[in-house]
Each structure stands twice: as structure tokens, then as C-alpha cells.
């Protein structure tokens, strides 16, 4: 197979003052006709920059310094802007990570797809519309005629990405660059989009350069793999070869960090309930003044769950399933409409505001976003010491406690004087955990604690949680969308869909013999499932 696109010694410079001189340094890569090449790497590895460089859509102040990008014999690195315009869309098309923002919100889908024809061909209006409609049918959008006239916000995430794909394939380009096209999607939708891309690629013979951070996705779709780290291509080869026998240490570490999908043997914990939810419901009414644009969302419906002392309860669901609202109900950040939440023997709803503030010591939360959950204007130590100080501890002892906690979560106690932005994402999440632990809580509610982190960091943070659980005798509620995360640390799992718990039970049972249809489809959609199952690595949670 001949290379359709070959990158030779591509070096892209970063502006002065960046953390490294080159975004890409001497990257050499080959995309062959009819194959899917996955470029894998963690954030900052330069994988997206590679995609931008090919189409010469680099941000300002970033420029190609050396190397060639050969596409059908032409060096794109040296092409004029007009030549590039002719190639973009027609020769090489691209789809992006976030289909909501990648589509113009003010123009219809049909219009935006039709624009491809208007730029690159002389087709008439009727013919343009006909072709756009055919494309939407090709990508299996439900009701393509309606989708033609729809605006981006009227489609679901998966439909938008289908529309993006239809647009990219409008002129049957030789190469399709897909930049993390499924990262923003739910796991079931991701599986469908991956299937669609593979199907279309087979049918049309387009070469696909697929950029991802997820080895599960790689295992699912790739013919060949290229692994990048800090702007350097560290390894490339056939997919099976790289996955089974990674050569480079970085690749090995990445693959090792891919979580397994088998439940570990059950763990012993007390039968006494520390947290009990009975018939909890929460409905949002989006009522404007004088009933303008009123909408009712039943976020949580009649949920009853029990967390045993010392146990870990996973709550799994896709976006919009109500799992985060449930977590906020437990924390009393949101007041449930109905139902009882008991912490030990206390009904939280019966407490006065002052008592509620006092009971905050017993139950604490770890948040999803390591950037947003720390006040950027306070020093790390202060953030951790704040809790004890609110509950009456003097500043001196509170800061000493913060230092201890820093050591406990694996941070340098000397770092308490630094500001949050001086830490990495994983470190910040550790600060968040330290803050939650500062009040010696009995229950820890962790809302997607690792979903914003790179795979290798995810594993470390989960390991920390498991360690702390063992050392401090914590009971944990873990909210996650990722079954692979839940399986690593949870004893019990509850699967939520549209505000309801559709299935719950011990994790081993739910994973091995799912009873509900939805649970089964969730499990089936995990990318690289076979690979993960086969991997069967040593479970982390048993430390």
C-alpha cells in the first residue's frame, strides 16, 4: 500500500515563553490509502498539533520550521494559501472533538453541508441540496430531511457528530483527519460513531488519521498506531503489534494504565448502613417570570440506595442520567423534593442550617474539575486548612494539619504556599482529596474524580483513593460515567438512566451477569472491551 500522506521530519516551533521550544520535533509519519492510523498520546503530546499542521491551520505565532508534508506529491508545508484552500475540505477533510462548537450555531445543518459544494464545485442549488440529503442518509441520521433544516443545537451530540462526518465526506476526500471525534460523547454514542467511521472508511476507501488519547479506542478501530509524547513520535507500528508488544517504555506505561474490565473478588465490609437513601426525587422547574419558557426536568426519580460502612458504592450513568444531581442531593447542595437521606441515624432534611453546617464534617466531597474546584486566589494550604478553620480550629494548627494531609495524599508539604495553578491536574485532584479529608469525614462522595485526567494519572488517583479507604476506614460514593473506573474500586454499583436506578448490586454480579438491557448495552459499548478483558491486569483496588 502506498502512502497517501507522508510527513517527513516535521518540526513546529512554539512561541517564546512556552514550556518547550517545539510543539513537534522531527515527526515522520505515513498514512496509507484505506487505512486507519491512530495517533495516540496524552494531553500536550502534540497529536492535535500534527493534525493542524497538515491542514496548515496552526494557531498564530506557531509555525512549521522544518520538514515536508507530502499529499499526492505536493508539499503542503510549502503550498500557497490559495492552494491550501483548494485542498482543505476537498482533498483532506477534518472532523473535530466538540461537534457543538465546531458547527456554526446560527446556520442550518443542510446549509453548512451545502457550503462544501458551493466552495469547491459549481453545482446548482437543487443538486447541492440533494447531495447534502444523501450524505445525511449515508451517516444514518434519523429523519435526514428534518436534520437538513435543523440548527446544531436542535440535534443530539451524536447526531451533530454524524452531521460533521457527512460534511467532511461531502467531496469524497482522500484523507479524513478525525481529532478526538468521540471524546465528548457518551460511551454508547461513542461506540456508534466509531462503528460509523469504520464502516464509511471501508466503504469509501478513505484514509483516516484518527487522533485519540484512549487505548480502548485504538484497540477498537486502528489498523496502525503511532504513539506520541512531548512532540516526539516514540513508536509506530501495526495495531495488534503495538498493543500486544509495546516496545517503548512510554507506550508500555500507557497500555499498563488501561484499566481492566473484570471485577475483582469481593471485599468484606460491614453490614451496618452509614448512608441510606429512601425514595429520593428531584425535579427541576425552569420557570421564567410569568411562566416564560417553563420546562420540567425530572433529574432524580425515586432513588433508594444503601451505602454500608466501609463500603464503596459506584453510581454509573451517562450524561443526563441524574447521577451528579444525586450526589448533590446527598451533599445537600441541592434540596431533594421528596425522600429521606439518612447519615447514620440523622435525617439530614430535619436539621437546621446551623446543624447542617456542623454535620458537614461527617460527609465530604471530591469534585470532578481539578481546575474549577479550587479557588484560584487561595494558596493550596489555605484551601485544605479552610475546613477545620470554619469549624473552629485556629489557623496555626489548621495549617499544620494541612501539611500532614499533603503528606498523606502524596504531595510535598512544603508546597502549601503555592497557588493551585502551580500544580498539575493530578496534583490538584490530590489537593481536593486532602481538603475533603481535613474534616475527618465518615463518608466521601467523589463526583467523577478522575474523568478530567490523563489515563496514567487516573490510575494513580484511583490508587490513592483505595489506599485512603483502607487506611482511614472511609465509606465512599463514587460517581462515574466510566465503567472501567467503577470496576477498579467499587464494591457495589448502581446503574442510572434518566434519573432512575435501573439496576444495582455487587459489582461482580452486575458486570458478569447484567440483568437490565441498558447495563448490557453499556458494557458492550466500552471501547476496546475485548482488549481490556483479555488484559486482566492485577486489580488496583486490592492494595
Amino acid at each position: 500500500m502506498s502512502a497517501i500522506l507522508s510527513i517527513e521530519g516535521l518540526t513546529v516551533g512554539l512561541p517564546k515563553g512556552a514550556d518547550r521550544p517545539h510543539a513537534l520535533s522531527r515527526v515522520t509519519l505515513e498514512l496509507r490509502a484505506g487505512e486507519i492510523l491512530c495517533v495516540v498520546g496524552e494531553s500536550g503530546s502534540g497529536k492535535s498539533m500534527t493534525a493542524s499542521a497538515i491542514l496548515r491551520l496552526l494557531p498564530p505565532n506557531v509555525a512549521i520550521e522544518a520538514g515536508r508534508i507530502l499529499f499526492e506529491g505536493k508539499d503542503l508545508a510549502a503550498a500557497t494559501e490559495a492552494e491550501m484552500r483548494a485542498i482543505r475540505g476537498a482533498g483532506i477533510a477534518m472532523i473535530f472533538q466538540e461537534p457543538m462548537t465546531a458547527l456554526n450555531p446560527l446556520r442550518t445543518i443542510g446549509d453548512q453541508i451545502g457550503e462544501m459544494f458551493r466552495i469547491h464545485t459549481d453545482l446548482g442549488r437543487a443538486e447541492t441540496d440533494k447531495r447534502a440529503l444523501a450524505l445525511l442518509e449515508d451517516v444514518h441520521i434519523p429523519d435526514p430531511k428534518l436534520a437538513m433544516r435543523a440548527y446544531p443545537h436542535e440535534l443530539s451530540g451524536g447526531q451533530r457528530q454524524r452531521a460533521m462526518i457527512a460534511m467532511a465526506l461531502a467531496l469524497s476526500p482522500r484523507v479524513l483527519i478525525a481529532d478526538e471525534p468521540t471524546t465528548a460523547l457518551d460511551v454508547t454514542t461513542q461506540a456508534q460513531i466509531l462503528a460509523l467511521i469504520r464502516d464509511l472508511q471501508r466503504r469509501l476507501g478513505t484514509a483516516v488519521l484518527f487522533i485519540t488519547h484512549d487505548f480502548g479506542v485504538v484497540a477498537e478501530i486502528a489498523d496502525r498506531v503511532a504513539v506520541m509524547q512531548h512532540g516526539i513520535l516514540v513508536e509506530q507500528g501495526e495495531a495488534a503489534e503495538v498493543l500486544q508488544r509495546p516496545q517503548h517504555a512510554y507506550t508500555q506505561a500507557l497500555i499498563a494504565a488501561v484499566p481492566p474490565l473484570t471485577a475483582p473478588p469481593p471485599r468484606a465490609f460491614s453490614s451496618e448502613a452509614i448512608l441510606r437513601l429512601e425514595g429520593v426525587s428531584k425535579t427541576y422547574r425552569n420557570g421564567g417570570f410569568f411562566g416564560r419558557g417553563k420546562r420540567v426536568t425530572r433529574a432524580v426519580r425515586d432513588v433508594s440506595l444503601v451505602l454500608p460502612r466501609g463500603g464503596t458504592l459506584g453510581i454509573v450513568g451517562e450524561s443526563g442520567s441524574g447521577k451528579s444531581t444525586l450526589a448533590r442531593c446527598i451533599m445537600h447542595l441541592v434540596k431533594p423534593d421528596a425522600g429521606v437521606i439518612r447519615l447514620g441515624d440523622t435525617d439530614l432534611a430535619s436539621l437546621s442550617p446551623a446543624q447542617l453546617r456542623a454535620s458537614a464534617k461527617r460527609i465530604q466531597m471530591v469534585f470532578q474539575d481539578p481546575y474549577g474546584s479550587l479557588n484560584p486566589r487561595r494558596r493550596a494550604g489555605e484551601l485544605v486548612a479552610q475546613g477545620p478553620m470554619v469549624h473552629g480550629m485556629a489557623r496555626g494548627p489548621a495549617m499544620a494539619r494541612a501539611r500532614e494531609l499533603f503528606a498523606l495524599v502524596g504531595l510535598d508539604p512544603a508546597a502549601i504556599d503555592r497557588f493551585p495553578h502551580e500544580f498539575s491536574g493530578g496534583q490538584r485532584q490530590r489537593i481536593g482529596i486532602a481538603r475533603a479529608l481535613a474534616l475527618d469525614p465518615e463518608v466521601l462522595v467523589a463526583d467523577e474524580p478522575v474523568s478530567a485526567l490523563d489515563v496514567s494519572v487516573q490510575a494513580q488517583v484511583l490508587k490513592l483513593l483505595a489506599e485512603l479507604r483502607a487506611r482511614l476506614g472511609l465509606s465512599i460514593v463514587l460517581i462515574t460515567h466510566d465503567l472501567r473506573v467503577a470496576v477498579q474500586v467499587c464494591d457495589l454499583v448502581a446503574v442510572m438512566k434518566d434519573g432512575e436506578v435501573v439496576e444495582h448490586g455487587p459489582i461482580g454480579r452486575v458486570f458478569e451477569a447484567p440483568e437490565h438491557e441498558y447495563t448490557r448495552s453499556l458494557l458492550a459499548s466500552v471501547p476496546g472491551r475485548d482488549f481490556a478483558l483479555a488484559k486482566g491486569a492485577a486489580p488496583l483496588s486490592r492494595v
Partner: protein, 327 residues
């Protein structure tokens, strides 16, 4: 029909604000030194004896307690009666209707002027960001913004009316010339050139700054990258994708600033002696003509609400996300 119900809802939502304003201004003016009869006496030049002033106070309903006056006023308002103007000796609605055209003309002309050139210059500045065009436009914008409008108006009169004699110094049209049809339109237009510039410049400066910032913001959005990846050239990216998105904040701003513009017309109308609402308001305050002032407050609040309603409609046309949500 949907527009009507939208308008109705908008009005209903504005009612509390309107009520707060009317009652607030009413009570505030009770604290003012002197009432409309005092102002009348000043106009007469004296000689009114105690009996006639008491008679006048009774005539204007000023002899009853404040809550009763307020109640009377609100009750009349419910029946859409704005009352009788003490100073002008006519129903307030008539007085306001006579003054409305000049203000509407001034406001719409200034708004169009500011909007059009703000848009144009904002786009040029954003396209040539940090180039000399950008520097010139941004500097001019800042200068316009910093210029007191009445001062600009006075200096414009000195230059264009007094020294160059190109444009009339004030008034709404030439009186007694008997112009009709097209010549009358041109005559009125020539009277509105300087006032429009004077009132519009500061808004031009604001719009151009917003437009420039908004363009630069939109240019960094993902869909612009998509458009580039599709092979669009820069001009078409601007016209087809960026412009409409970038206009949204500017459109919002128009609604927010309708009140400010009306306030600015007080000064401009007084510089150019235009018979408009702004000057009427000033006179009503000075003459303690409570009914007229409240009438103006009422009408200008309606005007602001109407402008906001139009802005909403425009916004809904520009942004499909709002249109579907609103209904």
C-alpha cells in the same frame, strides 16, 4: 400571533419595573422645592395673590394629600389618561405626541449611524488587528468616547454652522419657508445631521469597540476553524460565519443602552433646540410639571421596552437558539 403574545409577555414582565419607576419618580418629586404653581408664578412674573394661587393649586389637584394624588394618578393611568399638563395647558398625551417625532427621528438616526459605522469600523479593525487601520480606528473610537457630547455639539455648531455655514445651527426644520415633499425631507435631514452625529458618536465608539472585541472572540471559536478546514477564504469566513455571530453582543447592547440614549438626547436636543422628548423632560423637571414628567417617564419606559422587544425579535432572527426557546 406569536409575536403579539411575546410582546404581551414582555410588557407584562416590565410592568413591575414600570410601576417602581412611576411611583419612585412621583414620590421623589414631592421632595422637590416648589411645585408647578411656583413655576407658573415665575413664568407670569409675579402679581398673583394668595387667592389665585390657592385656586391654581386646587385646579391642578395639588391641594390633596400625596397618597391621594398618587392614587388619582395611578387610577387615571389605568384608564390610559396621562392627565393635564400644568405648564402647557394641554393634555399630556398631546404634548408628548407633539414632541415624540423629533426624538424618535433623532434616536433612530443616531442608532442607525452608530450601528452601521460601528459595525463597519469594528470589522475593519478586527481584520487588521494591530495594524495601522486598527490603531487609527481604535484611537478615534477612544476619542469619540471621551468627548462630552454637548461640547462636540457646540464645537460643531461653531465650525459647520457659524464659520462654514453648511448646516443649520438648530431647530427641526426651516419654518415659514413652506417646503413640501422632497425639499421638506431634505430640509429636515439637514437639520438632523449635526444632532445625529453628536448623539451617535459616543455610541459609535462603544459599538465599534464591542464589535472589534466580539469579532476577535468569534474568530477563535471552533466553527471558524471548521470553516477554514472546509477551504473557505477569509472574506467568506467573515461574511458567512463570523459576522452574524459577532453581531449578537452588539444587538444586546442596543437594548441595554436605549435608556442611556434617551438620556443623552436631553443634552443634544437642548444644544440644537430640537423639539423633542428630552428637552421636554428637562423643561418638565424645571417647571415641576409632574404630570408631564411622569408621562414622559411612562412613554420613555415604554419606548425602552419597545426597543428591547425589537431587539429581542432581531436577536431571535439572528440566533435560532433563542427563537425556539422563546415560544
Amino acid at each position: 400571533m406569536r409575536i403579539l403574545s411575546l410582546a404581551g409577555r414582555r410588557l407584562a414582565a416590565s410592568l413591575p419595573s414600570l410601576l417602581i419607576i412611576l411611583i419612585g419618580v412621583f414620590l421623589l418629586l414631592q421632595l422637590a422645592p416648589g411645585d408647578t404653581v411656583d413655576a407658573l408664578l415665575a413664568q407670569m412674573g409675579g402679581g398673583g395673590d394668595a387667592a389665585t394661587t390657592a385656586e391654581l393649586r386646587r385646579f391642578y389637584g395639588l391641594d390633596v394629600s400625596v397618597p391621594v394624588q398618587l392614587g388619582n394618578y395611578l387610577w387615571r393611568l389605568v384608564r390610559l389618561d396621562l392627565g393635564f399638563s400644568a405648564i402647557y395647558g394641554k393634555p399630556v398625551s398631546t404634548v408628548i405626541l407633539e414632541r415624540l417625532p423629533a426624538t424618535l427621528l433623532l434616536m433612530s438616526a443616531s442608532l442607525s449611524f452608530a450601528f452601521f459605522f460601528g459595525l463597519l469600523f469594528g470589522v475593519i479593525a478586527a481584520r487588521r488587528v494591530n495594524g495601522w487601520q486598527d490603531s487609527v480606528i481604535s484611537t478615534l473610537g477612544l476619542l469619540f468616547y471621551a468627548t462630552p457630547s454637548f461640547w462636540f455639539g457646540l464645537m460643531a455648531i461653531v465650525l459647520f454652522s457659524v464659520h462654514l455655514q453648511w448646516l443649520p445651527a438648530g431647530g427641526m426644520e426651516s419654518i415659514g419657508e413652506g417646503f413640501t415633499g422632497f425639499t421638506r425631507v431634505m430640509d429636515i435631514a439637514s437639520h438632523f445631521v449635526l444632532p445625529t452625529l453628536t448623539l451617535g458618536l459616543i455610541f459609535l465608539a462603544i459599538y465599534l469597540r464591542i464589535m472589534r472585541a466580539s469579532m476577535l472572540e468569534v474568530l477563535t471559536l471552533d466553527f471558524v476553524r471548521t470553516a477554514r478546514a472546509k477551504g473557505l477564504d477569509e472574506t467568506r469566513i467573515i461574511t458567512r460565519h463570523v459576522l452574524r455571530n459577532a453581531m449578537l453582543p452588539m444587538v444586546t447592547l442596543i437594548g441595554l443602552q436605549a435608556g442611556t440614549m434617551l438620556g443623552g438626547s436631553v443634552v443634544v436636543e437642548s444644544v440644537f433646540s430640537l423639539p423633542g422628548l428630552g428637552r421636554l423632560a428637562y423643561e418638565a423637571v424645571v417647571q415641576r410639571d409632574l404630570n408631564t414628567l411622569l408621562g414622559i417617564v411612562f412613554i420613555s419606559a415604554l419606548l425602552v421596552i419597545a426597543v428591547n422587544f425589537l431587539v429581542d425579535l432581531l436577536y431571535a432572527r439572528l440566533d435560532p437558539r433563542i427563537a425556539r426557546e422563546g415560544s
